[in-house]
Symmetry: C2
Subunit: 330 residues, 2 copies
């Protein structure tokens, strides 16, 4: 049995999303023991599931909380969940609460895997190729990274694409301002050199943000600051265009009729651009599977976040990273 | 009469786009003297216009050229155009050729305005508010910037929004990984402090990439590396979704009928997301108006690039920057 700790509070929709999310998850998984942490009276619906243990915690960490806020909030669902993770030696922890608070406090308490300099936040993006995702990291765990850290991120991303997505030989790129070898910020240029020097298998050079979602890349490596700008820029435009499509169909009676005829293709677009099914973002490099669900998670999206955590735990991703890093240290 | 030098070669469509682009421009402007540089036999169609001087140049600078390549290509339309600019004391220069080559060689030859540390590439982006654009800089003239350079970019952007877009009090933001004051890369954090310290009018703090196109910001300041990732990420997703919309309508006979009913709204989307009408990108901070048209310019897009150059020259943008920088040096 895998052990998964779930912080049920702190997201926009709180337990009204996470509780049905857990129930959905349980329909497809009977080999997981779940520790659900939150206001116990809101977890009622879970109490008859044999694989679920309910743990009461009364405080909710606010969205803008940092690591220290979490550490001080002794009775918060987030800190109680993290402590439970350590206490029972769990495999995975999932929360849709404060991103900053969750990432920094799990990093502090679970600790970095030996040899890992910085944890990286990773998320799969949709691409032009139907069903294919590209894994981008770091999308925001760090404000600044060294070339050596980018090299490590390339390794973490490779292990992830390999073990979680089952891609035998992932194509790895550095996100840059041009495809040519000499392009990039000083940090990216130096990372490029290091990756070339050690002849990393699968490293294909630089990629421009314009082509990042074309489907050629399996892993895209970036510093956390630029990665966050890329992630949010892409999300912003996708949401802007999604709204424009909706209002184009809502213009008048004719456009609504148009929707009746054309809706299938548009459903496909929204499924492709849909970030819900990715569940959220994963923190790689710490001693445990850490998945951060979307702050705006609904039940479906939260169950997807749990699914991702399950897949990562099943793939033994933490052990894989430990070995990968050790091998490189030799 | 304003003097505008036009490099007619080097873009994907060459003179077949730039020559009709010039003709379109001339229909609406009779107060501009144009120096059209390129293979003279391809400029035939321009020879009867009284305000056009044709200048023969035989070489085409390749797209991937750098400054040195341009400097060495003595008979290239780009270098001949730049030299003509200096010789006649022109107001503006427009090219749709090699971006790197054009930006670096104009910076070298026209020189930075006194007091300006780095030139910045600037481009207006569409926003959720119909007709409203947001000016983002630097989108790629630099690989790395200091906090002080970002502060200067804020000033350049403010002058641009004020003088070219006529916005009396532009709202200025720093692109960051969070809206809170303490968020950002070390460079962004330091720039934030400097802007607060000098109490810059209109500076509103940080903005996340997700909200950059919401229409609240008039100017968004970023380092060239991240700015380029933002620009290209946005362009990439917009083009990806544009193609998805097209193919959704092309699925089958029903979806095509749907298009007949709903097309008006979709034409509006493509006009909003259309980068052609912005003409291209402008280099701010050098002694002259420098406009880089899209490499894939068609006649319409190239005439828009010339329009932007015209507007900037009319607004006396170079003098405005000189004064703005001088004032700040006091």
């Amino acid at each position: 049995m895998l052990k998964m700790v779930v912080d049920t509070m702190g997201s926009d929709n709180g337990t009204s999303a996470t509780v049905p999310g857990i129930i959905t998850f349980l329909k497809n998984h009977n080999d997981v023991e779940i520790y659900a942490v939150g206001k116990i009276e809101e977890l009622e619906a879970l109490k008859d599931y044999p694989n679920v243990t309910l743990i009461d915690a009364r405080q909710v960490v606010p969205m803008e909380a940092g690591a220290l806020d979490v550490m001080r909030a002794k009775d918060s669902s987030m800190l109680v969940a993290i402590n439970k993770f350590l206490e029972v030696g769990a495999d995975a922890i999932v929360s849709a609460g404060s991103t900053g608070g969750f990432l920094s406090s799990t990093t502090l308490k679970l600790k970095l895997i030996e040899g890992v300099e910085r944890a990286a936040l990773i998320s799969p993006f949709p691409t032009k190729i139907k069903g294919k995702k590209v894994t981008v990291l770091d999308i925001g765990a760090n404000n600044e990274n060294t070339p050596e850290q980018l090299v490590q991120f390339a390794k973490l991303g490779k292990i992830y694409a390999n073990k979680v997505f089952g891609i035998e030989k992932p194509n790895i790129y550095l996100l840059s301002n041009g495809a040519e070898d000499g392009k990039g910020s000083p940090t990216v240029k130096a990372a490029h050199k290091l990756l070339k020097q050690e002849n990393m298998e699968g490293f294909k050079g630089n990629i421009e943000a314009r082509y990042a979602l074309d489907g050629e890349a399996d892993v895209i490596v970036t510093g956390g600051f630029e990665g966050n700008i890329f992630l949010k820029g892409v999300e912003g435009v996708a949401s802007m265009m999604g709204k424009m499509i909706k209002s184009a169909f809502k213009r008048n009676i004719f456009s609504m009729i148009g929707y009746l005829f054309a809706n299938k293709g548009f459903k496909e677009i929204s499924e492709t651009m849909e970030y819900k099914s990715t569940g959220g973002a994963m923190l790689l490099g710490v001693n445990g599977v850490v998945v951060k669900g979307h702050g705006s998670s609904d039940a479906y999206s939260f169950s997807c976040a749990m699914n991702v955590a399950y897949k990562m735990a099943k793939a033994n991703i933490v052990e894989q990273i430990k070995e990968g890093i050790k091998e490189n240290a030799k």
